[in-house]
């Protein structure tokens, strides 16, 4: 009875929290606030953190992770995962080196390396989206496969004679500022991905797939094509990160960037993306990457060993994944919900009287 009478009143704005709450009381805001707090704390307390070199080194260090975190966020929101990103970085690094050594110019070699990244992404995407295999299994396989090809192509040696001007491009800064040049392509990509995820129908489809891919299919989302596109993007952006990595260190090696996939995924999860899919926003992820970067930079300046850094980042990550669940469980036991028997009704933010009506309804 009461359900039918109240149904017309249940518009989104009627039952949702006020706008400011929806914008500010979010996981993303928490991560951004935490990042800002850690930065302020480090500036105040960590010797040399306010030095002129910090921002440059910090951004250079996190640039590959920032880049790959963009497509990784979308991939994880669909409920999939791409573990092969670091191996694609290694492969593009080796290709860039081998082709450049073979006499090709750096831009041409980089273009082919990007195409190789696209091909890697296509393989992942085909197996996951069209064959329907689980992404965890597929990308563990291609993690080994691409890394194997990379090491196989170059062996244990390194190619290091990159043209100076291209290497300078990777290590240079914008004019007199301390912002590395790599931030320009990153900014362009970041804007592109924000538009793609948050302001396009494609992006709505990404969330739909993560929440329920069958339902997404029946509402007209091309699930397979969406996943394919995401793995292609993941492949090509990973290759770009691999090229940056190679030029920054001036060294193409088969084992370049080993283990980066875990750093990327850690940052994405820390940034508020649900590993089960369907939830997460890019600004939270970018804050997550910066947070991990700042923590490790500050701890290194304090000469804290890398193990301690890993422990802190690990604890932060585990806490960030566990806390929402623990809190959800805890809050569901709070006594203030008067009508646990009628959870749908408790959604209404009506006055106490209507809550009373509901309670009576469920009692009778």
């Amino acid at each position: 009875m009461s359900t039918t009478t109240q149904a017309p009143a249940r518009t989104y704005s009627a039952y949702s929290a006020p706008l400011w709450q929806r914008l500010l009381l979010t996981r993303e805001t928490a991560v951004i606030a935490l990042t800002a707090a850690v930065i302020l704390y480090s500036i105040a307390n960590v010797p040399n953190f306010d030095g002129p070199l910090t921002i440059k080194f910090l951004l250079q260090d996190i640039a590959p992770i920032l880049l790959i975190a963009l497509p990784m966020t979308l991939v994880i929101i669909t409920g999939e995962i791409d573990l092969s990103v670091a191996s694609i970085m290694g492969l593009s690094s080796v290709l860039l080196g081998v082709l450049h050594e073979g006499g090709m110019s750096v831009p041409a070699a980089a273009l082919l390396a990007l195409l190789a990244g696209l091909a890697c992404g296509a393989l992942n995407g085909f197996l996951i989206a069209y064959v329907g295999l689980p992404s965890l299994a597929v990308t563990i396989g291609t993690l080994a496969l691409f890394r194997g090809i990379a090491v196989g192509l170059l062996g244990t040696k390194a190619i290091t004679d990159f043209t100076e001007k291209w290497a300078d491009l990777a290590t240079g800064t914008i004019g007199e500022t301390k912002i590395p040049l790599v931030m320009i392509p990153f900014a362009v990509l970041a804007i592109g991905f924000v538009v793609l995820l948050h302001f396009s129908t494609f992006g709505r489809g990404v969330y739909d797939i993560g929440l329920n891919d069958e339902a997404a299919h029946f509402t007209g989302v091309d699930v397979a094509r969406t996943k394919m596109v995401l793995f292609l993007l993941s492949g090509v952006v990973s290759a770009l990160a691999g090229i940056y990595f190679t030029l920054r260190f001036g060294s193409a090696r088969g084992d370049n960037a080993t283990g980066y996939e875990l750093q990327v995924i850690a940052a994405v999860l820390l940034g508020g993306v649900s590993i089960f899919g369907g939830r997460g926003r890019l600004h939270g992820v970018l804050a997550g990457v910066v947070l991990i970067g700042v923590i490790s930079s500050a701890l290194r300046l304090e000469s804290v060993t890398v193990n301690v850094t890993n422990i802190i980042v690990g604890l932060l990550l585990v806490a960030s994944v566990i806390l929402p669940n623990v809190l959800a469980a805890a809050s569901s036991r709070l006594p203030r919900k008067a009508a646990p028997a009628a959870p749908r009704e408790s959604h209404t933010h009506e006055n106490a009287a209507s809550a009373g009506v509901t309670t009576r309804g469920s009692d009778s």
């Binding site: 949702s16 709450q21 009381l25 979010t26 996981r27 805001t29 928490a30 991560v31 935490l34 707090a37 850690v38 704390y41 307390n45 960590v46 010797p47 040399n48 070199l53 080194f57 260090d61 062996g155 390194a158 290091t160 290590t171 990595f245 920054r248 260190f249 001036g250 060294s251 090696r253 370049n256 960037a257 080993t258 283990g259 923590i295 490790s296 930079s297 701890l299 290194r300 300046l301 304090e302 000469s303 804290v304 060993t305 890398v306 193990n307 301690v308 890993n310 802190i312 604890l315 932060l316 806490a319 960030s320 806390l323 929402p324 809190l327 959800a328 805890a330 809050s331 959870p343 959604h347």
Partner: protein, 351 residues
Amino acid sequence: MKFPTRKPTALAALLLTATFAFAGCGSDDGGDGGSGSDGGSSSGGGDLSITMLPKNLGNAYFDTSTDGAEKAADELGADFEEVGPETGSPDAQVSYINTVAQQGKDALIISANDPDALCDAIDEARSADVKVVTFDADTNPDCRDLFINQATAEGIASKQLELIADEIGGSGEIAILSASANATNQNAWIDMMEKELADNPDYADIKLVDTVYGDDEDQKSFDQTEALLQNHPDLKGIISPTTVGIAAAARYLSDSEYKGKVALTGLGTPNQMREFVKDGTVGSFALWNPGDLGYLATYAAAALVDGTISGEEGDSFEAGELGEFEVGADGTVLLGEPFTFNADNIDDFDF
């Protein structure tokens, strides 16, 4: 769906911030400890601050070199610390080099994970007035101030021949168990050994009959040792210029009928070889003493910082108990001849 998670999310936001507070406390404690010593060095002004950056941490070889460096730093009254990545990759080292530049340390002692990849970072550190000394593994000569060389290729090659010649009494068939077929160091040493065998009259009766490759894999080196002994029944000695190879070969020999009959020497580490030296499988083997290497690198760094030397060829400096050293070509300082480990001294080492 959305509603039930909203309140918890808000709480999560708060608690996540609380987590930060704990993390903050953690780094605060570290900060006080760290800034205490850092503050001491920077306010002292003239105090010497040295950072040591091995290829990776948790490696007994580098623990030994760090012990040596620490001892030298104590003697010099220098502020010393060791930092490093978990894995031996160049990109991980770059972050630490950058950190040293940010901290404005006086000197950096580093074992490079890549000869070229670190140069940009090292250049940046040097332009921040950090003196850079490489040890164990060098970078390109033009990007560091000094390289402390543990041993020359010639020294390593001739030392191993000397040891094997000793063991087999100066005549007989020998074979080499190397790392991989394209391992740069090993191939250079093998070339030199072949040359010296042909040229040196002392070795006229020694014949190198085979060179096999164990790829620095324990099992493969073990199998190759077995194959060597079967293919060459008259074999009297094996040289394995790689730590993996010599340990695997020793393990094979110690359980076989050839124990004590076929001599084995090469480059090994005391911890790997201890049981085989004690049970008589191996008489002696060579390597350098990483403790001395770290000790010398620290004195060299101090000499660079205080201006005693500039890294030019011909400069000389005192290195505590190791005596006086001279800078050679390409800014290289040679520790000396390889060190011979045998039953008498092996228990003095732990790496």
